[in-house]
Symmetry: C2
Subunit: 335 residues, 2 copies
DNA sequence: TTGTAAGCGTTATCAG
DNA sequence: CTGATAACGCTTACAA
């Protein structure tokens, strides 16, 4: 194997082995019609030369890149990272590579991301990103790039979706709370621009309270542990606030409320109860452990990738998968 | 813009616009020598046809894929996810895409990963993976793929590295512990096959204790919260174990010990002290908060990507970056 | 079974 | 400033 600069090409292999490129191509593609003898000869010079086919050239010739684009806002959320590892797992099994596309909060950047995805020439995409709408997905699929969209309703020939459902679980939780005779109104921690999932949960929260004819509270917060922690440290100074049930976006926010409460000498769950909507393994690591809604994001990732490969092979039967959030009770709520 | 199947090619744009491919190519590459008039004409038909250049073909023609390979064991560790987001951030700035390659624990798979990286034809790689040795990196760079390696010493023309240093911080910590008059031997939680970082820390631990002539303990654990938690729940039943200083791999393990202790009615940090070697934001979310060594992995990711682009442009001056772990004191240790 | 040659969608080097 | 035309490294009919 040469340790030098320029990559060995199929042509050089052919020359050295004394065969045509076509034969070399057949060998590296495990094509049937090759004599064991020539196959060995070719294989040997491939090894000797350290030849590795260029995925680029292969992709161009076959019109298949074996690359899947993954579009997410950022990889640094635990639950996204878990999903990513799920996707990776089956991508490896199906022999696909993953190309990451991250969007920030600007609409503009979302659009350039779409451009990038299209020119990147991926075979398909998995999208978990609140910035992208049906139109955006349409645009991607119009370039013949099948897509599976997570946590968003999408229709289209080359698209399918995985939807998270919080409806039943959340509604029942709220009803059970008041049915148990609790008088304190529940509080929902609103985060501006935190995406569809939280928005949907807030809707369920409002609707259920209206149906029950119960009062409720909305507390405006930020999606940051430290800010929320400090905010609630203040908040809990008011004796009127030292009781209540707080529904939080994710573990870190819930932990912020939790810690602010306990650090203020408030008893959890006796006085203050806390729920996390997007639970991760950190739900049961914090103390008191968090009652939380859970969706197994690793599974979601695997599922998404399976759906995508089915879509790519035109074998997909059900274009929508529904996943119900599961309530896991911890020590941060009564009962 | 046509919403149909096959992608529009540069050739079709040329035809419709009534120019040659070369001109279209010049337009999409913002080449100087194009009349504003023709540029507009071409640009208009590009828009009309919804043409997007094929990154594949461009890559093949230019021998630059604008793709960086990222090799990591798995994306589902918080600190890796943070690094990933750092890499992403500057990759976007420098106009590179990221392709993910994950390895599992088998040596075999590591080798096929290398193959994949080479055929993928990436412009460079960022490697943070204990499975890969100097030889493996050499193999990659021998295909003219510059690499930056994280948390591992590497030499080579087309390679540079970022090294984490725990030496001073950990050594000082240990010395200070005994200097303060503590009699109980420290305990190091050994995890089989947990990688170089933990191994190096263990070495420092051993060496420092030998130098001081102090006894120490090694406790064998697994890299799993639940298993460690249950193990220590048992462990703390023995009164002899209800005192000590435990050095743990990462937050989740440290939290396992922490929770096992407090759930066993042990006072932290009075009786049991806990340190996490790889701290994340969860260090200060758990209660009691964790004393932990911190390395800002987001920064490491950014740094790695900057080094790589410099390496790609042959502008790199310093081929090794050192990053010192910082001790951040929490409530899980005295003082 | 093997070789020839025409693509795949670009860029880049020439002339003009 | 613009247009032919030859790469780029591979696959794949079609022939032999």
């Amino acid at each position: 194997m040469q340790n030098l600069k320029d990559r060995v090409t199929i042509y050089q292999v052919a020359q050295v082995a004394g065969v045509s490129l076509a034969t070399v191509s057949r060998v590296i593609n495990n094509s049937e019609s090759v004599t064991p003898a020539t196959r060995k000869k070719v294989q040997d010079t491939i090894n000797a030369l350290g030849y590795k086919p260029s995925g680029l050239a292969q992709a161009l010739a076959t019109n298949r890149s074996t690359n899947i684009g993954v579009i997410i806002p950022s990889a640094n959320y635990v639950y996204l990272a878990n999903m990513l590892s799920g996707i990776t797992e089956v991508a490896k099994e199906k022999n696909y590579q993953l190309t990451l596309f991250t969007t920030s909060h600007s609409r503009d950047e979302a659009l350039t991301t779409i451009e990038k995805v299209i020119t990147a020439h991926v075979d398909g995409t998995i999208i978990f990103d609140d910035q992208l709408s049906q139109d955006d997905v349409d645009k991607i699929t119009s370039y013949n790039v099948p897509s599976v969209v997570i946590d968003n309703k999408i229709k289209g020939d080359k698209a399918c979706d995985i939807r998270f459902s919080y409806d039943t679980a959340l509604e029942e939780l709220i009803k059970a709370y008041y049915a148990a005779g609790n008088e304190n109104p529940m509080a929902f921690l609103h985060v501006h621009n935190a995406g569809r999932l939280l928005g949907r949960c807030e809707k369920i929260f409002l609707k259920t309270h209206e149906e029950l004819g119960k009062d409720y509270r909305i507390v405006n917060t930020r999606d940051s542990y430290t800010q929320t922690y400090n905010q609630f440290l203040e908040y809990f100074k008011d004796p009127a606030n030292r009781r209540g049930y707080y529904i939080c976006y994710r573990d870190s926010i819930a932990a912020a409320v939790l810690n602010a409460a306990t650090d203020s000498g408030i008893n959890v769950p006796e006085q203050v109860e806390v729920l996390s909507l997007v639970g991760t393994k950190y739900s049961y690591i914090v103390r008191p452990s968090l009652t939380a809604m859970h969706i197994d994001m690793h599974e979601v990732g695997k599922r998404a990738m399976y759906m995508l490969t089915d879509l790519l092979n035109a074998e997909l039967v059900d274009k929508t998968a529904r996943i119900e959030a599961q309530l896991v009770r911890g020590q941060s709520t009564k009962n």
